[in-house]
Amino acid sequence: MTSRLEQIIILQDLDLMIREMSDHATTSQLRKIGFELDEVATLRETRADIASKIDRDLLNTYDRLMKRYPRAVAPVRSGVCLACFIKQPTQLSASDLEKVRFCEQCKRILYAI
């Protein structure tokens, strides 16, 4: 079973894939390399399905952050948020996936890499 944090990261990866695959320059390059690509409509349906399984408060927070920033979930390395480069007061563990933590400074959702 996927945790709350995994669900939100899966959603972010999908949102960014939809964004990337909606970019004509990127898809042209991928097709030129040799990949066949369908329209992103099916990914949007998958997105709706994933979003429906995430609790409303967390999803609202995520959507708000995605409007404000290019990415809502920021990686953390050695306790530092790699989006705003602020050291976090508490250490994050990559295995601790049930707790959703937020950056003290930028308020993005954090994921330890």
């Binding site: 995994e6 894939m17 040799g34 890499i113």
Partner: protein, 157 residues
């Protein structure tokens, strides 16, 4: 991207000489599990999801026994390449409907300083489309031999 930069992405720990999986999904899962075991990524679940969703947009089996599953994900900090060979061959819904023997799995962070993700994809396709290279790849048993094929392809071009 220079040849040196290109070969620097092939790490001995991310080399699988004989993939056991017999289906596309299982192959992706096996390679990702290999990367998790070697601590290159900490969360396999998220990566498998991203790669399978990318496959749903169009198979990354681009013909000539070659598949390049790829995607960007939040859970990796650096551009990563894993190479796996399937001796038996795997059905990958490829363009030419033929089984896949050579799999180059590529993971990239959403933001990378060097911007090597797409050039790396292009370089791998360019490299593996050469029939002589693929013939040599089938015999490759070690990472060193793989590097030898990469260097040989560079010398021949």
């Amino acid at each position: 991207m220079t040849h040196k930069e290109f070969t620097s992405y092939f790490h001995p720990e991310f080399f699988i000489a004989d993939l056991k999986a017999t289906s596309k999904d299982k192959a992706i899962e096996e390679i990702v599990a290999h990367l998790v075991e070697r601590r290159q990524i900490k969360n396999g679940t998220v990566v498998v999801e991203a790669l399978k969703k990318r496959e749903s947009l169009g198979s990354t089996g681009i013909g000539k026994s070659l598949a390049i599953p790829h995607g960007r994900t939040t859970v990796t900090g650096k551009l990563t390449v894993a190479y796996a060979r399937s001796i038996a061959g795997i059905s990958w819904e490829s363009i030419d409907h033929k089984p896949v023997h050579f799999i180059f799995l590529i993971l990239a962070p959403h933001q990378e300083k060097e911007n090597h993700y797409l050039p790396l994809l292009g370089k791998i396709v360019e490299f593996a489309r050469d029939a002589a290279v693929r013939k040599r790849l089938l015999k490759v048993e070690t990472h060193e031999e793989l590097l030898g094929v990469l260097d040989g392809a560079k010398a021949a071009s």
